[in-house]
């Protein structure tokens, strides 16, 4: 509808928002979602009107006073086919339209800026790549695709931002992703919408949408010193990952530089794309997919690293990948104030011995 007449759309949205019947549209996907929603409401209203009109008019025309003797009608194949096929057609339109939106919401564009979100009873913890932590809040810039990588430490939670028309379950034990591109600066509700126990209704927060400049300022003012990747590097050293993952020719484990996003051959045959979910599995359940050419000797780190730790390691491993670093540089680092100290760790010389040089 917004494609057909922007003026009418604007008017409709403003009007409805002011009457508090309708949440603000603050993301790029929101108008698309609303267009479908309006279409559905419209169809339902028409359908309902038809049904109600028929009932009322039949009730008037054929009530007992007016029409004392019923005329038996068996049915009508034509009519019945009509009201089978028309709703079916409409439902199918809704299905296709809905599916298009579904895939749009859950397929992040290639170079979106990634923020990790960890849900736990009963708070949201967001981790920006620059090392900024937030609790029950999330700051994002306008005009930039933001991808959230979600995980839960305990039970199912659901990260919901009604103003963005976006929602995704945070699941224990695996990553899920969702993305959005905020359009209107402001503060919006963040809800946990999956029932998660006693304080489910308190697991709320604020989504703060800022202009890119404000966001840059915010990033600078709330950095905690080390970036995620630097934390990861520290963990990589302290968990002695580097004992196996290094560039020495007799290294027992594969070189991890450039592994992120690569297609890895598996010992069991087949290949797998090393995305976030895969890397996480590789650390926690290494024998699940063993890379070709290596013995399944990597110990599991299940129970030894917190979800935040895994995230830091991932961010570190990602940064070993030059392509990814370029992307991140494009996406996040340019947000940081010009100081070199805040650049991702891998750009600097390796800090600890044995760390892979990209």
């Amino acid at each position: 509808m917004n494609h057909i007449s922007p003026t009418i759309w604007q008017f409709l949205v403003k009007w409805l928002t002011n009457f508090a019947l309708f949440p603000p549209e603050a993301s790029k996907i929101a108008p698309q979602m609303d267009a479908l929603l309006f279409f559905m409401v419209l169809v339902s209203l028409i359908g309902l009107t038809i049904v109600v009109l028929l009932i009322v008019s039949f009730s008037i025309l054929y009530n007992k006073k007016r029409h004392p003797v019923a005329v038996q009608v068996e049915g009508s194949t034509l009519l019945e086919a009509t009201w089978t096929i028309i709703p079916l057609g409409l439902f199918l339109v809704m299905f296709v339209w809905g599916a298009l939106i579904y895939f749009r919401v859950y397929t992040p564009p290639a170079n979106s800026m990634n923020i990790y979100v960890v849900g736990k009873q009963w708070m949201w913890k967001a981790e920006h790549p620059g090392g900024q932590h937030e609790i029950n809040a999330l700051h994002v810039p306008t005009g930039r695709a933001v991808q959230l990588t979600l995980i839960s430490q305990d039970v199912f939670h659901s990260f919901s931002v009604p103003a963005f028309r976006v929602k995704r379950e945070a699941i224990p034990g695996r990553y899920t992703t969702v993305w959005f591109e905020a359009t209107v600066p402001g503060t919006y509700h963040l809800f946990c919408t999956q029932y998660c126990g006693t304080n489910h209704s308190q697991m709320t927060g604020d989504i703060v949408v800022m202009t890119p400049e404000d966001f840059r300022k915010w990033l600078a003012s709330s950095t905690s010193g080390a970036s995620l990747a630097q934390n990861g590097e520290r963990l990589f050293a302290s968990l002695s990952c580097a004992a196996c993952h290094n560039t020495r020719p007799d290294a027992r484990g594969p070189n991890l530089s450039g592994v992120y996003g690569a297609k890895l051959p598996l010992a069991s045959g087949g290949t797998v794309i090393a995305d976030d979910a895969y890397l996480r599995e590789a650390i926690l359940n290494p024998s699940q997919h063993v890379t070709q050419g290596y013995a399944p000797i990597m110990p599991t780190y299940q129970g030894q690293i917190s979800e935040e730790g895994v995230i830091a390691l991932l961010e570190y491993i990602k940064n070993l990948d030059s392509d990814y670093r370029v992307q991140q540089t494009l996406n996040t680092t340019d947000m940081l104030p010009g100081s070199e100290g805040k650049a991702p760790a891998a750009e600097k010389a390796p800090a600890s011995k044995g760390t892979v040089k990209p």
Partner: protein, 559 residues
């Protein structure tokens, strides 16, 4: 009574309730508790179901009271969580699933097909006892601290994180599930094997078709939730790991198993209600249902397709995107038979001779509300919009529209419709019409604002909420109060009518079903002479001839 009512009551001065009927045949509590008579068991069910409905309703009242203000001031959050959990569990498993089938179905399936009883009377009684055992266990659970998992028992919350009475609640649901299985099994067997001579499949009233379809769902789907509950119990007690992500289990597997039952269960809940609506609309418009076969087959289609769509409850829960596509498409398909039914019922009115007794008013309410509820179900079934609407009050509104606006209306419609047959006495028409209108208004006031709340993003299962949502919540609470009154009224006047209601006679509505061709209340063996079905269902012309003949024979007797 309005002049255009079709009621033709027997002459009040001479009318008497037949001395020998299923109520008077035997006396004493034991004769009820040990009965094999489907009609008595139906009444046992009716009483117990009403009891549980009011418990559930009182809990709903607490929910609405708490939500009157944005803060959590009436109760602590975990109390609130327990309240809505018990509300959901009691309403679903102890009220709505058995509501129409176990009362009206139990009472009228044998009568409509011309049988003396259900095929397995003892099993029928057993199923009531199981139901009661489950129900008492649920109430005991509530009294001893309750449970706060939500009625969906989502793992790993229910298995590892809450420390409330998950086990006893699970057992209660498990036992109630078996009661439901036995009821369904009994119905299927009865409908297959006990039909009177001449009662072919396509002469069956649509009430029977609907129950047949619902029974298939009960028999095939319920065991899966039983095993899911067993797994939850074992996970909780022994930590077997099948649902525990830490041990490598998949918590979503539980939801697959749970919804494999609970989606078909929503059709267990609505199909019998649809059966009632078919009977009522036909009777009060004095017409055969428009497109009998289409309505009959759409029941079966709903039952069959109902098995294919369960994962639409898990669209954002982490199932694969391709599975989302498939399940979303199938959900669209399952919605079609319901639409067919709505239009067929509407067109049954066409060229009818319509009167507006209470059952009909409830049925009209059903048509409108179920259309809204069903269409909003389609909103949720389209995967894209589900992202925004899921887990919000939109869902709460959706399912209350179909369950309360749909099934509960149908239940009340059916209770009023068959009240004269069950008790031999009429309910008071005026006040009950009033109550029906009150429920309709109260219902819309309660649940319509919740659609808007849902679109605004208010999450469900929240004890507190942002203040801007308050206005709509106040509407909703106000509506619930009216709704409560609307539900209290029938209880009062129906009890009143047991003693003071007008005597109904055999067939006050001039309906065609076999159940109306015998005395009310019926004999223990239902029919004095085994009926032979020699006409189609809803054959009002046959009925007229029958009555003509009856009058003539009376005239000759008198002469």
């Amino acid at each position: 009574m309005s002049t255009n009512a079709i009621i033709s009551l027997p002459d009040q001065s001479t009318a008497r309730i037949p001395k020998d009927n299923f109520i008077t045949r035997e006396n004493g509590l034991l004769s009820w508790l040990l009965t094999g008579d489907h009609k008595r068991i139906a009444i046992l069910y009716l009483i117990s179901i009403t009891f549980f409905f009011f418990i559930g309703g009182a809990l709903a009242g607490l929910i609405r009271l708490e939500l009157l203000t944005p803060q959590t001031d009436l109760m602590a959050t975990d109390t609130y969580n327990k309240v809505f959990t018990m509300h959901g569990i009691i309403m679903i498993f102890f009220f709505l699933v058995p509501s129409v089938p176990a009362t009206l179905g139990n009472f009228f399936i044998p009568m409509m097909i011309g049988a003396k009883d259900l095929a397995l009377p003892k099993i029928n009684l057993l199923s009531w006892y199981l139901y009661m055992a489950g129900g008492i266990l649920a109430v005991y659970t509530m009294a001893s601290g309750g449970v706060d998992t939500g009625w969906t028992f989502t793992t790993p919350l229910s298995t590892h994180y809450v420390n409330t009475n998950v086990l006893t609640t699970g057992l209660a649901v498990f036992v109630a599930g078996f009661s439901s299985i036995l009821t369904g099994l009994n119905f299927i067997v009865t409908i297959h094997k006990m039909r009177a001579p001449g009662m072919t499949w396509f002469r069956l009233p649509l009430f029977i078709w609907a129950h047949y379809a619902a029974s298939i769902l009960m028999v095939l789907a319920t065991p899966v939730v039983a095993i899911a509950i067993v797994l939850v119990a074992l996970e909780r007690t022994f930590g077997i790991g099948v649902f525990d992500p830490i041990k490598g289990g998949d918590p979503l597997l539980f939801q697959h198993l749970f919804w494999f039952y609970s989606h078909p269960a929503v059709y267990i809940m609505i199909l019998p209600g649809m059966g009632v609506i078919s009977e009522v609309i036909s009777t009060f418009s004095r017409k055969r249902i428009f497109g009998y076969t289409a309505v009959a087959f759409s029941s079966v289609a709903i039952a069959v397709f109902g098995f294919f769509v369960w994962a639409h409850h898990m669209f954002i829960m982490g199932i694969s995107n391709y599975a989302v596509l498939v399940f979303s498409l199938l959900t669209m398909l399952v919605a079609v038979p319901s639409a067919i039914k709505i239009f067929n019922w509407t067109f049954t009115l066409y060229k009818g001779s319509i009167t507006f007794e209470t059952p009909m008013i409830y049925a009209f309410g059903f048509l409108g509300l179920f259309t809204i509820g069903g269409m909003t179900g389609v909103f949720l079934g389209a995967s894209g919009t589900d992202i925004h609407l899921t887990e919000t009050y939109f869902i709460v509104a959706h399912f209350h529209f179909v369950m309360v606006g749909g099934m509960l209306m149908a239940f009340l419609s059916g209770i009023h419709f068959w009240w004269p047959k069950i008790t031999g006495r009429m309910y008071p028409e005026k006040i009950s019409q009033f109550a029906a209108v009150v429920t309709f208004i109260g219902f819309n006031l309660t649940f319509f604002p919740q659609f808007i709340l849902g679109v605004l993003g208010m999450p469900r299962r929240y004890a507190s909420y942002p203040p801007e949502f308050q206005v709509l919540n106040v509407f909703s609470t106000a509506g619930a109060t009216i709704l409560g009154v609307g539900y209290l009224l029938p209880v009062l006047y129906l009890i009143w009518s047991l003693k003071y209601g007008a005597i109904a006679g055999n067939n006050p509505w001039q309906a065609t079903g076999l159940e109306w061709q015998t005395q009310s209340p019926p004999l223990t063996e239902n029919f004095a002479v085994m009926p032979i079905m020699d006409h189609e269902a809803y054959d009002y012309e046959w009925l007229e001839q029958q009555q003509q003949a009856h009058k003539e024979s009376e005239a000759t007797h008198a002469g």
